[in-house]
């Protein structure tokens, strides 16, 4: 902890602590992990922007089927490059202490592939494909699945899930908090 503590000022650390769901020790731990992704650039500038491939070297993100969406959503520039602050933000949302509504908000953004603020049938299809991968469902099963989902969750019959509908369904799910977290 000695080395990385000198990187941040006391003010910065307390700011970060107030703005994320981490303690100071955890923030430093996150910074250490961030540093291991690309030690040289971070040595030079602690606010270095790492591009997407570097970020995806993190083992917790590497095998996740949604890793590209995660990096896009959390990067402030919108193209997948993340600074340490974006990284910290991401880890804070995925931490155990983040409340459910914050997680639901970001989950919605992650699953909304075309970024039109609704999870349409196309988005659902993309999610299913990412999750089932090679053992793909045949078309009939896929159709039925999408139909079932829309039947359950789509309240106003517009064939897509708005944020309110998504939140209404997901915030009742008992295992959402347990699955939607990453521990560093």
């Amino acid at each position: 902890m000695g080395g990385s503590q000198s990187v941040f000022s006391e003010q910065e650390l307390s700011d970060y602590q107030e703005l994320t769901y981490f303690t100071k020790k955890e923030i430093l731990h996150v910074f250490k992990r961030f540093q291991t992704l690309d030690p040289d650039s971070v040595e030079r500038d602690k606010n270095a922007k790492l591009n997407r491939e570097t970020i995806l070297k993190l083992p917790e993100l590497q095998v996740n089927p949604f890793n590209d969406r995660i990096t896009t959503v959390f990067s402030s520039a919108g193209d997948g490059c993340m600074t340490f602050e974006d990284f910290l933000d991401m880890m804070s949302v995925f931490s155990d202490n983040a409340p459910k509504n914050v997680k639901v908000e970001y989950a919605f953004r992650i699953y909304d592939f075309d970024e039109d603020d609704v999870i349409s049938g196309k988005d659902l299809r993309e999610v299913i494909n990412r999750l089932t991968g090679e053992q793909a469902l045949n078309d009939e099963e896929m159709e039925q699945l999408i139909q079932n989902i829309l039947e359950e969750a789509d309240l106003d019959d517009d064939d897509s899930l708005s944020f309110a509908e998504f939140e209404h369904v997901i915030s009742k799910a008992p295992d959402f908090i347990n699955s939607f977290r990453i521990r560093l």
Binding site: Y106, N148, D156, D175
Partner: protein, 749 residues
Amino acid sequence: MEFNEQSNLLRNGGDRPTTSYGGRAQTVRDAEEYSYDNSSFAVDYEGLSSSDLVESSRSRSKSILGERESASDILYRLRYSFLDPDLDSEHVISETQDCLTGQDKLRFKEDILEGIREVCLPMKQKLRIRRIITTDRVNRRRDQNSKKYISSKSRKNGSGFLHLWESSITKLTAYFGSTVASYFTFLRTLFFLNLVTGIILFSFIGVPQITTGEFLLDLDDKGKTFGHFGDLSYSMLFYGIYQDAVDGFSLPLSYFLTWIAVNLLTVLYLASSMYLRYRRSKLSDTGSDFPFTWSMFCYFDFTINTKAGVKDHLKAFCTDLKEKIREEKSLEVVAWLKKLQIYFLRLVSNVIVLGLLGGSGYLIYYVAQQEPDERDVDFNENLKELAKEIYERYRLAAVVAILKLVVPSIFKLLVKMESYQPRTELKFTLARTTFFHYASLIVFITSLTKKADCIDGQEPQITSTPSSVPSNHSTNNSTSCATNQCWENIVGEEIFKLILVDLGVCIAVGILFDVLIAVFVRTRTCCCKMDYSEFVVTSNVLDLVYGQGLVWLGLYFSPLMALVAVVKLFIVFYFRYFVARFANIPPKKMFRASRSGSFYLFLLLITWILCFIPVVYILIEKTPSVDCGPFAKKDRAYKVIDFLDSLDDLPSWLSWVKDALDYIATAIVIIPVIVVLILLVLYYRVKSSSYNALIQELRRQLVFERKIERKKVFAKALSVPALGSLGKTTGSAVTGEMSRKTSAVTFTA
């Protein structure tokens, strides 16, 4: 109007508009920053500025809040700032801040700072906002509060002891996911529970005993030969050694009260953690309301981060999904004859289950009643004799452990015959296995305590042991009913034996099934397509709960049993950890982890109740043995408490107390109390089911309202000529946004 243009219109929300879409839009803009949501509504859809939605919410907002925005408004706008990228949040905040003074300013700052964390903005922006707020150093009070908050948080996360084995559990989670990790965290909870129990018991009972200097009981000349473990039987591990007179410290009283206190602490802890978990789960156990949506969005476990783990997890997900889809389809009408066959099979299997339960209960009782052939283990004899002797001693424990192994597997096979749906299958097997465990525990303890009846002069059923009994041992058998027998020690030892045998069986099964199969698969010696064995969470958890039940049963008879349990759990943890890492794969069927968080505690609570009641019964009904243990001189163990003892001879003017207590214990009072309690339970059931009905009703209303709203807005949108060409897709995107805003607006209202 295409969608791009429309979004441009939205972007004009913050700036002063260069183009105005209708005069009404202009007037609406007077309300400036606050009602930007509504104004963009009016801007995009000309015909809509007179819509009820805009008007009502605008007037409502103006009347409630006046000219300035409050902290919650600003936070609210920040939340939806992605809809309005040009919103200059810092400008807004600094302006509002400058308008306020003194106490209002402080409160404003506090509100913003508390709420800013939950707003979904990039970190840089949040930092900037924070800098603006904290430039004047007015918030000394807030800093103090935050310091308290920080220190409590760090205490929670930094205490390394409570997070024992954390790194091992994380390594397992990376491959297996949260379900398997929940088993290990449950094990850790039990470890700490037993540790605390053991320490309390040791310090209040063990330490005074140590100060007397007597670690081992002297064998009398009477030739008492109780005790199977040699020296260990006479040590502090078991009840027998504790004396009834220690200088300046009433050991019997301490023994009794500490035992009661430990039990009360346990039940308090279990009940409170169940309560907290249940509250957090928000009553979401109203069945699986949204099975497909939940499995789509909540199934995938982000904590898995190895490639193999993700692959297995997704395979399980796919299987689960396909099953669910097929379940939907299979809710068809089954032919009448097939139904009859299914019901007949179910009846048969239930009868078999009952038969098994009854049979195993009787077997345990029968074996427990047989008197063991008490010979010392003589290692010089040949192997056959040795084996027989060991068998004699461990007969009861072996029977119970083997039954525990065999019967649940039979249940698993039986349930396949009944052709239930997979989830119901799991529930049935779980219920039957749990019931079997509890039944075996209860039969075990009650048949053991029959030995205590010896003291009252009853003859036990002495059945001749299978091996030939030499004549010099028959005297032992006949005097086993004599008064110089320490029955608590015997019971304690049987329980201890059972714990050891349980541990041994668990390790043996683990090695035989999991490790051997893994070796076969690795070296491919077996030609058949064998796969690694799965890590079955439910049966492992049931094993843990069963073991804990045994410990609770034995706490009265052997105060250091909790420390024995600590050692046992330690061994079990590492054994399971290594087996899981090297020989197991994640389970293919998921039993919902988080719901099981409170489910495991619930099982533990039921086990506690079922283990507390028999021991209390024993305390009340049986006389402690005369020549060993702290209660040797008393008629009943609880009479150690002087108040209860002196109930027998109270002064005459207080005798009504005793009469009252006696009266309360009779049937005339107990039965109405039970009836009233049952009525209360029924009342709460009815209340909760009516709440459920209310929830369904509200849900239907929600759907109805959304449909009506959407139809209204969509109709008006289509009525604008330029928008008439919008197809359904863009229309849905539009209404998607509108629904987000509509919901946003309705939330403010």
